[in-house]
């Protein structure tokens, strides 16, 4: 009986340790929650300049209480260190910090342009192997230096990471950039051998702008898609739930503004000769939100506008496809993926040399626009 008691007590005590995980206990006030990670090429051209930003919770809380906030200086700490890897950078930064860096709440991972041109394998491997990184964080390529984007004096949000990450929420009204998270990024980069589209961020003095896309080919940044081209690419990806398209009507000063609310894309293989021939069918629904004041909308008028919109979208989508085919020669809109999934026999033939075949593929776009609403006036 005595033995049993001792045993029970041991089990009970040990399981208490177990449930609270005392080995891993780092109190919340002993942590810095890194919001952004910025990765740049260091000045020597070989190492990396890794930048972390994290908020000082004390100051944020004080500011809200109305106490010493406001004049207390920045609430965000920016710390940079030069080293060979991101993980090592966090350890190196530890020599200058009073608390642990903690990545579970990292919202944004910024990659500097220069580093991206050299290759992003290091970042990819870090993001995948690390078990602490939030797989819903955003991966963004910065035009210029990532550090510049992290040192802006922004007043809109208290937290810089939230400011940048929340811009992505606006994609459903303005699809002029690529939306992706760590999860999606990993999936694409591995299934497409390092070819992927990433959002582009341009830092300003007090704010940043996310617009356009970075074209990554074989883990290296080869160029950009501008905003209109990204919109075109998004049409093919079928991911638009909000974007404005303006068309000029001859004789009027102001354009007709059409806003896309639904977008469906379907690919079709028309011919599989030496080079494949594709047709991309787009189905776009949306409403008219602005017209020149003098115009009275009538059903026939809407038909004409629909036709004009179709031409406009065709044009825009083709332009971005052409750019990817001719300038970057990389298939980022899923044509190869479509073949491998739906036409596996055809894909067997093209698979090996797809890089060289894709630029010569013939791609047609067929758009069908449906105007579903015209606002509150005729």
């Amino acid at each position: 009986m005595k033995l049993k008691k001792i045993f029970l007590i041991t089990v009970a005590v040990l399981s208490v340790f177990y449930t609270i995980g005392c080995w891993d206990m780092v109190d919340i006030d002993k942590r810095f929650f890194v919001g952004n990670i910025g990765v740049d090429r260091a000045e020597d051209g070989e190492q990396m300049l890794v930048t972390f930003t994290f908020p000082i919770v004390r100051k944020i809380a004080g500011g809200q209480g109305g106490g010493q906030g406001g004049g207390g200086g920045s609430t965000i700490v920016v710390i940079s260190t030069v080293t060979d890897s991101i993980h090592a950078a966090a350890r190196q930064a530890a020599m200058r910090l009073s608390r642990r860096l903690f990545f579970e709440h990292t919202r944004v991972i910024l990659i500097g342009e220069e580093l991206a041109r050299d290759g992003i394998e290091e970042v990819v491997n870090f993001l995948e192997r690390n078990t602490e990184i939030n797989r819903r964080g955003r991966v963004i390529v910065v035009r210029g230096k990532a550090k510049d984007a992290l040192t802006i004096k922004n007043e809109i949000e208290v937290l810089l990471a939230l400011y940048i990450a929340n811009i992505f929420e606006n994609r459903d009204i303005c699809a002029r950039f690529i939306e992706t998270d760590v999860d999606e990024f990993m999936k694409q980069v591995h299934s497409m051998n390092g070819n992927v589209l990433l959002p582009r961020l341009t830092p300003g003095k007090t704010d940043v702008k996310i617009g356009g896309a970075a074209v990554i080919k074989k883990y290296k940044l080869v160029g950009w898609l501008e905003e209109n081209e990204t919109l075109g690419a998004n049409f093919v990806l079928g991911e638009i739930s909000g974007a404005d398209i303006m068309i000029d009507i001859p004789g009027y000063k102001y354009p007709v503004v059409f806003t896309v609310t639904h977008n469906k894309a379907a690919m079709e293989l028309l011919e599989a000769g030496d080079y494949p021939k594709f047709r991309v069918k787009l189905e776009v629904k949306g409403e008219i939100v602005e017209t020149p004041e003098q115009i009275q909308l009538a059903p026939e008028m809407l038909k004409i506008i629909e036709k004009m919109l179709e031409d406009r979208i065709n044009h825009m989508v083709l332009a971005s496809i052409r750019k990817l085919q001719e300038e970057y020669q990389v298939d980022l809109l899923g044509f190869g993926e479509y073949l491998s999934k739906y036409k596996p026999d055809v894909w067997e033939e093209y698979k090996k040399d797809w890089e060289n075949i894709f630029p010569d593929a013939e791609i047609n776009v067929e758009t069908k626009v449906k105007i579903r609403g015209i606002g509150a006036s005729k």
Binding site: K187, S191, K341
Partner: protein, 365 residues
Amino acid sequence: MLMDDDRISTGQAMALVINAILGVSLTILPRDVAKTAGPDCWILVILGGVFAFIAALIIAAVITRFNGKTFTEYTSFVLGRPAGFLAGALYAFYFVLVCAVVLRNFAEVMKNFVLETTPREFVIITLLLLSFYLIRHGLEPMVRFMVINFPIWFITAIVALILTLNKVDFSELLPSFRTPPDKILFGSVSAAISMAGFEVLMVAGQGLKTTRHVYKIAAVSIGIVTAFYIYLVVIVVSMLGVDETRRLLWPTFAVLRSITVPGGVLERIEAPIIIVWVIMVFTTLSAYYFSATITFANLFKAKEFKIFAPLLFPWIYFLSMMPQNVLELENWLKFAGNLAVVFGLIIPFILLIAGSVKARWGKSK
């Protein structure tokens, strides 16, 4: 030896088998099948379920012939004393090995995702101690715990399903039916291995209230497990894509880590799900630990099976600490999987044949 009132009903036996099967393998299975068959991985799981079902039927057929005997008594009766003893001993060692592998895999996942600085030794010993505590009181109390766990697991699985639905892309499972048949066959065997666990019922079979419904137990439990595995593999692969599933050590956890509750109320939902998974591992461990203990007790015809639990404790622990790292553990897992074919299919089959031959021979005499 089990006490007379320590018996379980048919429903309880189902819970026992399901809890014994589901555990560590559900973190690895998607990678395994995606590696061999790519987009056809779900076919492997279905075929694996069929194989596992056949194996379970054979085991069930053996169990119905027990006639109140324990497993070791029956093997000795059928194969003769030395061979029967050897078979019993091999089974006991196999159960111990499975315990060790399960524990170590659990510790690796914990180390990577939850308790990063906690020593593996500590994680293993505590779980093993808990399991030790659970099994000491016999079959029925242990199975009661498993019955309680069943709805918890079920509800969690359903909730996780709903939460992943907005992120899945079922076109990742295309093109279908393009994997060569030999690969499908080979792969489905390894998928069947992840449904190993029914052999536990062979030693626990002596605790069944009635052996009349063993076939029903086999059908229901393997059916539920197969359905769950198909759902799991489809969700994981269609969320991560074939290539990413192949690369990740624990693809299931990668999926858990990327689901969010809409509305931003709960940012990260994986913690409660991992807790449920820990319970699942715990029940697998307990089922095998109990089986090992009871097999040894039967071998030595001990009155009290309890004394074998502490005797096995250090062996399980040392075995679980043997692999150097995750990659070596993978080899151990493969080895244990191959053994599962031997102990879950081949030996029961021999027993079945030998048993029926013996029965006919006995009648004609």
